[in-house]
């Protein structure tokens, strides 16, 4: 272990950690480009490098890329990467209030803490966590998806019916494309480019960034920051210690949850961010304040998505199973250096494994340091006159969608922009649409696979302890606010003469 850590701290390796962090921050902050694209694009560049610097470069690029999407999410409501979607929902309200520095500072600090907590788990309980991940079958994934959806009522507390409709729209949109089980085409209307499903990044850029610009244009509301806002400096980007202290349980809970979701193959950091956000809404004494700019709503997804990104390394390294899209591409980085991820990696190349663990810890500190500089640079844009900013956002929305796919991706972006505009005009919340879109494929395919395995006996799913426990928690999450509402209504009625 010590040898591995020393290896991570050598100048050759350290330089690549810094380079990977900088490229990851840049890629993550640009819509349409993310850590997965970065790793795939730069894979050939590392042929000539030794295995440890090459792997460190990619791991740091990955960790930094997961965080950086939050910068544009908070400042412009453009999620630079899918992992930053809940941060866009909550964090942009801080920019509108002129408190972008606080949200950005909390985001970067909580990301780093989440990543570090997950790294401690990497060092200590990797084999045990990998065995937990293996316990998850289709029925458990289905229950996990339902648990994620159970927060709809909370994130749309003012009007749960609208929240449910918005989530159903998201779930339905997630069924577009080729059915994973039968291979049938669904709701494609002859457009071949959506056979793989709705492209998520262009959809989110449209739903949040472009729709916001169109809304302001339609209302001639050309002020992004009310009252001008405070200038973001290094000092303001470091959140007050008391704020962090107040968030300690949020960060710890979300990091652990993020880590656990991260180790599940296919679940990913986006799901982790959504689940942690919903858990935080549930545990808050002011659930109605979420979605309007509550700092816990930034801290929770940020801690969770970075912890999940690190957690995804656990099944990769210990079992050779990628936990996310980026780790699937990372397998290529291992293979081109003649390394086979899996149990034998721990036996044959323990120094590489521990150097990677150490490198991940260092990366999280580097992300914290470099992000503050990045944040300052990006924060200047908020102070631009809104017409210039809006023009930039619309251009980036189109270019980001083009970078992700083709003209059809831009069409998807525009369609989602108009959908977001219509929903917001009718006061439907957007967050449940995202929940449905992300969790839909997990819920549908897991439910159908689980039903196939149990000969269509739904009750057999409940016989599995993890499934039953997760569904019970989901039921509790739905029932408690409903019962509390009924009690409040009954008390109010009793007090009325």
């Amino acid at each position: 272990m010590i040898e591995g850590l020393q290896l991570a701290l050598t100048m050759d390796v350290f330089a690549f950690i810094i380079l990977g962090t900088l490229i990851g921050l840049m890629l993550g902050a640009l819509p349409g480009l993310d850590a997965t694209t970065g790793v795939a694009l730069l894979l050939p560049v590392t042929y000539v490098l030794a295995p440890v610097p090459a792997l460190m470069f990619f791991v740091s690029l990955y960790a930094a890329g997961v965080f950086a999407g939050s910068i544009t999410a908070i400042l412009f409501r453009i999620p630079g990467s899918s992992e930053a979607i809940m941060t866009a929902v909550e964090g942009h309200h801080f920019t509108a209030r002129g408190e972008a520095g606080l949200a950005l500072g909390v985001a970067v600090t909580c990301s780093a803490i989440g990543g570090l907590i997950a790294t401690v788990a990497l060092f200590t309980i990797t084999p045990w966590l990998a065995s937990v991940a293996l316990q998850f079958g289709p029925s458990e994934y289905f229950a996990l998806g339902v648990l994620g959806l159970s927060c709809i009522a909370a994130v749309s507390a003012s009007d749960p019916l609208k929240g449910i409709i918005a989530a159903l729209i998201g779930l339905l949109l997630a069924t577009v494309g080729i059915d994973q089980i039968t291979g049938a085409k669904r709701f494609d209307f002859g457009v071949s480019s959506i056979l793989g499903g709705i492209p998520f990044v262009p959809a989110m850029i449209g739903l949040f960034a472009a729709s916001e610009v169109y809304r302001r244009i339609a209302q001639r509301d050309h002020t992004l920051v009310s009252g001008g806002g405070r200038k973001v400096t290094i000092r303001s980007a470091l959140p007050p210690f008391l704020t962090l202290l107040k968030l300690r349980w949020t960060v710890l809970r979300s990091s652990v949850l993020g880590l656990l979701v991260g180790i599940l193959p296919g679940a990913g950091a986006t799901t982790a961010a959504i689940l942690s956000y919903s858990a935080e809404v549930r545990m808050s004494r002011q659930p109605e304040a979420f979605g309007k700019g509550k700092i816990e709503g930034v801290a929770a997804p940020e801690s969770a998505n970075n912890a999940a990104a690190v957690g995804a390394m656990i099944p990769l390294l210990s079992l050779g199973i990628p936990g996310s899209g980026t780790t699937a591409v990372l397998i290529g980085a291992f293979l081109i250096h003649n390394l086979q991820p899996g149990p034998f990696l721990f036996i044959e190349n323990p120094e590489i494994v521990y150097a990677l663990f150490g490198g991940i810890a260092i990366t999280n500190v580097m992300v914290l340091l470099f992000s503050i500089v990045f944040i300052q640079a990006f924060a200047h844009f908020v102070r631009l006159p809104y017409p210039i900013l809006a023009t930039s956002i619309l251009s980036v929305s189109v270019i980001g969608s083009l970078a992700f796919g083709d003209v059809n991706s831009v069409a998807v972006m525009l369609a989602f922009a108009l959908l977001g505009l219509a929903l917001e005009a009718a006061r439907y919340p957007l967050a449940p649409v995202v929940l449905g879109l992300v969790l839909g494929p997990i819920i549908e395919s897991s439910l159908r696979r689980a039903l196939l395995m149990t000969d269509f006996d739904f009750t057999a799913l409940l016989a599995r302890p993890i499934t039953a426990a997760l569904l019970a928690v989901a039921l509790l999450f739905i029932a408690v606010p409903a019962v509390a509402g009924l009690i409040r209504w009954w008390r109010a009625r009793k007090q009325t003469p």
Binding site: L172, R186, A218, A390, T391, I399, L414
Partner: protein
């Protein structure tokens, strides 16, 4: 809001139409027939129809109880339509005149037509700076293959990237 029931009513109609589309999904055989490709979409569409009807009913009832003239923000549909049309034209122009010229024109048009900026220095200067910035970030640094256009525009853009 007087017309708020229109959104759930539209959703109900869309869901009813999509139910018909889902009924034609092919591909399930044998054991898969019970959980075929239409299994999950139909559950969702049924739920959307029920929830939409409930929302329409609620909105209509609320409309009767609410006092008139509760509107809050003024809406300028012409501004929105112009912005969306310029964006659609931009996307269409990308494959004809290429990224650089299309982006310059798009930004200048948005500033002039949507935001009514009249200072020519801004209408032409800002797009020049922004397009150069995006060109450097997306094409030079990231190597994103953005459209070069066709014909003589392609020849011109090939000189740049």
């Amino acid at each position: 809001m007087r017309y708020r029931w229109l959104v759930p009513a539209g959703l109900f109609l869309a869901a009813a139409y999509l139910w018909g589309v889902a009924a034609d999904f092919q591909g399930a055989v044998g054991r898969y027939e019970l959980i075929g490709p239409d299994f999950f979409p139909k559950i969702l569409l049924a739920a959307i129809m029920i929830a939409s009807l409930a929302a329409v009913a609620r909105d209509v009832v609320a409309l009767r109880r609410e006092p008139a003239g509760e509107e809050t923000k003024t809406f300028f549909p012409a501004d929105l339509a112009i912005a969306v049309l310029i964006t659609v034209a931009y996307v269409a122009a990308l494959h004809v005149i290429g990224f650089v010229l299309a982006t310059l024109c798009f930004q200048a048009l948005i500033l002039a037509a949507v935001f009514r900026v009249r200072r020519w220095q801004i209408v032409f200067g800002v797009p020049a700076v922004l397009t150069t910035l995006f060109f450097v970030i997306f094409i030079v640094l990231m190597g994103v293959p953005l459209p070069r256009g066709s014909g003589m525009f392609r020849a011109f853009n090939s000189l740049l990237y």
